[in-house]
C-alpha cells in the first residue's frame, strides 16, 4: 500500500472516530430524550461514513477492485436510521407529552398522535 492511500485512510478513520466520540458524548451531555435523539443521527452519518470511505480506499489499494458493499451499507443506513428515530420520537410524544405541550398545526387537524385522520374523524 502506498503512502497516499495510507494517509487518506488514516484521515477518514480519525474523522469518523471524532464524530463517533462526539455523538456518544452528546448522549451523556444532553438532558432529555429528544435532544439525545440528535446524537445517533450524527454517529450514523459522518461517523460511519468515514469508516466506509476508509474501507473502500483500503480494498481498492489492496486488491485493485472497487468494493461496493460500503455503498450498500450507506444506502441501507439511510433507509433505516430515520425510521428508528421517527419511532422513538413518536413513542416519546405519546408517552411523555400532551397536545398542549406542542405548537399548533398550521392546518385544521391536530398532530396524528393525538388526532384522528379526516376519514375516521367524521364517522365518530
Amino acid at each position: 500500500m502506498n503512502f497516499v492511500a495510507e494517509l487518506l485512510i488514516s484521515i477518514a478513520l480519525v474523522i469518523s472516530g471524532i464524530f463517533g466520540f462526539v455523538g456518544s458524548y452528546g448522549l451523556v451531555k444532553l438532558k432529555d430524550t429528544l435532544q439525545r435523539l440528535h446524537a445517533p443521527t450524527k454517529a450514523t452519518t459522518l461517523g460511519v461514513g468515514g469508516v466506509l470511505i476508509a474501507s473502500m480506499i483500503f480494498f481498492y489499494s489492496e486488491t485493485g477492485h472497487i468494493s461496493v458493499h460500503e455503498l450498500l451499507i450507506t444506502l441501507f443506513l439511510f433507509l433505516t436510521a430515520p425510521i428508528t428515530a421517527n419511532f422513538i420520537a413518536s413513542a416519546y410524544l405519546a408517552r411523555n407529552l400532551r397536545e398542549d405541550d406542542l405548537p399548533k398545526t398550521p392546518g385544521d387537524y391536530g398532530w396524528s398522535i393525538y388526532d384522528d385522520p379526516p376519514e375516521t374523524g367524521v364517522d365518530r
Partner: protein, 163 residues
C-alpha cells in the same frame, strides 16, 4: 404486456444493482440471477404499490442527493460544536411545525428522512391530515429560519422531482 411484465422498472433496476452489489463480483451468472429477482419481486409486490408517483428529471435527483450530502457534512460540524462547546443550560431546543406542499406519501417520506438524517433536526410526526410535519430542532435562535430553510432547500427540490 410490457407493463405487466415490468410493473416497476425503477425498482427492477434497483434490485439488479443491489444484488450485484451484494455479491460484489460481476459475473454473467450473477447478472442473470439479479435480473430474475428484478422481474419476480416487482411482480409479486405490485399490489403494494397502488399509485406510485413517477420520478421525473433524474438530474434533479442527483442534485438533491448532492445537496443533502453536503448539508449533512456541514450540519455534522455545527452540531458537534454545539455539543462540545455550548453549556447545557444555553441549548435552546424548539418544536417547529412545517406546513407541507408535498402530497404524495413517497415524497413526504423522503422529506422526513432527509430532515432526520441532517443532524440538528429530527422529524417527529405528521399532522392527522398529512398537511404539516413536526420537526424537533436541537438548537436554534430563529425557528422560522429553520422552517424556511427546510422548505427552500429540500421541499422545493422534491416538488420538482415528484410532480
Amino acid at each position: 404486456m410490457m407493463a405487466r411484465l415490468v410493473p416497476h422498472p425503477l425498482l427492477s433496476l434497483t434490485l439488479v444493482l443491489v444484488w450485484l452489489g451484494l455479491v460484489n463480483t460481476f459475473t454473467l451468472g450473477n447478472l442473470i440471477l439479479g435480473t430474475f429477482f428484478g422481474f419476480v419481486i416487482p411482480m409479486i409486490t405490485a399490489p403494494y404499490w397502488p399509485d406510485r408517483p413517477a420520478i421525473r428529471r433524474p438530474l434533479k435527483v442527483a442534485e438533491y442527493i448532492a445537496v443533502v450530502l453536503w448539508d449533512i457534512i456541514v450540519a455534522n460540524v455545527q452540531v458537534a460544536m454545539i455539543i462540545l462547546f455550548k453549556r447545557e443550560s444555553t441549548i435552546r431546543s424548539h418544536w417547529i411545525p412545517v406546513p407541507l406542499e408535498l402530497t404524495s406519501a413517497e415524497a413526504i417520506t423522503v422529506l422526513a428522512g432527509t430532515i432526520t438524517m441532517t443532524p440538528g433536526t429530527v422529524s417527529a410526526t405528521l399532522s392527522a391530515d398529512g398537511a404539516s410535519i413536526l420537526v424537533h430542532c436541537l438548537h436554534t435562535d430563529d425557528p422560522d429560519q429553520v422552517c424556511r430553510d427546510i422548505k427552500a432547500r429540500y421541499e422545493r427540490r422534491l416538488t420538482e422531482i415528484f410532480p
